[in-house]
């Protein structure tokens, strides 16, 4: 049996590990765009703040792949898929036949249109290394900007606060996570950020970046160093800009091959795509979730790792349904924010609210067909266990009994 896995992140690597456990003689080939052995993206903020040294972000050693007879191809992506003859075309020109193929390529950060030295993204270890460098180069008086209103924006808020940089935040929506949050929950987050000294600019697009050639730093990029950003409301002095406006998976090569895609690669509850022997897992998967009974995409660690394990089982012959209520927890300057289950406002019938801006904490409950399918807790960690259980057990809002 020959397994090809494209994507060397936690979903793909966990699947490779599971396959090896179940099949000692199979050929396993792991195609990875990045050159690093598996590391934890979730640890990158800890690394940036100096909580853990760089070497602690790695979850596998380079030797691990060879020790487990996993052929690890780095710096390579799949560019072509032939589902009839069952092979993938690699970016180095090679063709790689497979018996079973796993697509676990995650997503690439969505970039802004402008590139000046001083613009940072936060997805990969290389991005984090770049930010470490930028932070080290900052002059004594330096202002940070953040573009985005989601989880990555929260990480930048904490990182810039750690370095005591005055911070201005710009986002396109009226508030954070407009697809999930009600206006009151958005207002609660804004209030918290304002109280912590963040300068806020909602409903804002960046139209231009200003850079200046620095005579002191030879070879520091031809466009010069970032000095400011321009929005419809004027120019803002900023020396470092953290961008977190989402990820976009690249699946044109899959679409050309007839693999069904929506916002992600579509799959059933067994993580099987519409093409025989082609599976998907992790951030790129838009899978049928049998608990909330619709297709969802879940960009979090727990989901990616668990899907890797489940899909490994299925690919090795033990067809297994994926069942998990996954969650994403973050913290924005001390305010705890947790998303559990299906939290898309347009996909539910009602959103119930517990708490208020005045109380300093809000929980949103998402209800569909009479059942609790999701929850967002802002400053209300105590609801998490109950809501997770309510989603798993398909309770009604009344049975859950918190509102």
């Amino acid at each position: 049996m020959r397994y090809v896995i494209t994507g060397g992140g936690v979903a793909g690597t966990t699947a490779a590990e599971e396959l090896r456990k179940r099949d000692a003689s199979a050929e396993i080939i792991l195609v990875s765009e990045e050159h690093h052995p598996l590391y934890s993206r979730v640890l990158l903020p800890h690394y940036l703040k100096g909580k853990v040294p760089r070497e602690r972000v790695f979850l596998k050693k380079e030797s691990w792949y060879g020790e487990h007879q996993i052929e690890w191809l780095t710096g390579i992506v799949c560019e072509h898929l032939d589902t009839r003859n069952k092979f993938v075309g690699l970016s180095d020109g090679r063709e790689l036949p497979y018996d079973k193929l796993l697509i676990a390529t995650g997503g690439q950060v969505r970039p802004i249109d402008h590139d000046v030295r001083g613009v940072s993204y936060l997805r990969t270890l290389d991005d984090a290394d770049h930010l470490v460098q930028l932070l080290a180069e900052q002059p004594a008086i330096s202002r940070a900007g953040i573009f985005g209103g989601g989880f990555i924006a929260c990480e930048y808020l904490n990182i810039f606060a750690h370095f005591q940089m005055p911070t201005a935040l710009f986002h396109r929506g009226a508030y954070f996570w407009t697809r999930s949050l009600e206006p009151s929950a958005g207002a609660l987050i804004h209030k918290h950020l304002l109280e912590h000294g963040v300068e806020l600019h909602a409903n804002t697009q960046i139209t231009q970046l200003h850079g200046e050639k620095s005579g002191l730093k030879a070879g520091s990029g031809s466009a010069g160093d970032l000095t400011g950003i321009v929005t419809a409301h004027g120019e803002h002095a900023v020396n470092l800009l953290g961008v977190g406006i989402g990820i976009e998976p690249d699946f044109s090569w899959l679409q050309e091959a007839g693999v069904e895609t929506g916002v992600g690669v579509r799959a059933n509850a067994f993580l099987e795509t519409n093409v025989p022997d082609v599976y998907t897992a992790g951030d790129i998967a838009e899978f049928f979730d049998p608990i909330v009974e619709r297709h969802i995409q879940a960009g979090n660690w727990m989901n990616a790792m668990s899907q890797g394990r489940t899909v490994g089982k299925s690919m090795s012959g033990e067809r297994t349904e994926f069942r998990l209520v996954s969650s994403y927890a973050t913290n924005a300057l001390g305010l705890e924010i947790i998303f559990v289950g299906d939290v898309e406002r347009v996909a539910v019938e009602q959103v119930h609210i517990v708490g208020s801006v005045e109380e300093g904490s809000i929980t949103q409950l998402f209800e569909r067909a009479g059942r609790v399918v999701g929850g967002v807790m802002i400053g209300r960690n105590q609801d998490r266990t109950l809501i997770t259980k309510a989603i798993q057990e398909r309770q009604t809002v009344k049975e859950l009994g918190i509102c």
Binding site: V52, W301, M302, M305, R384
Partner: protein, 89 residues
């Protein structure tokens, strides 16, 4: 049965809850959204981030799996002699 020492570093824990999903008898989240350690579902007071518990081989394997699933490697597991079983040093 072997005894193992399980320890959560609350400073590293971010409440991702992977450990709770894999080993709910051993890990739960407290109100600070940090994982604490239980003894077979029991909650000996006071709540604690570390505990020495008796486990079967199978339970031990599952706890190591839970520790491996932690995206911030905030869970440390030691054997009776104090040798670190996870993370690998």
């Amino acid at each position: 049965m072997p005894r193992i020492h399980i320890k959560v570093d609350p400073d590293l824990c971010i409440g991702a809850a992977s450990c709770v999903t894999i080993a709910p008898e051993t890990f739960q989240l407290n109100e600070e959204n940090k994982a604490y350690v239980l003894d077979h579902g029991g909650e000996p007071t006071p709540r604690s981030y570390e505990r020495v518990i008796e486990v079967t081989e199978e339970e031990k394997e599952n706890m190591i799996l839970a520790a491996q699933s932690c995206p911030t490697l905030a869970i440390f597991i030691f054997d009776e002699e104090g040798k670190q079983l996870f993370p690998d040093l």
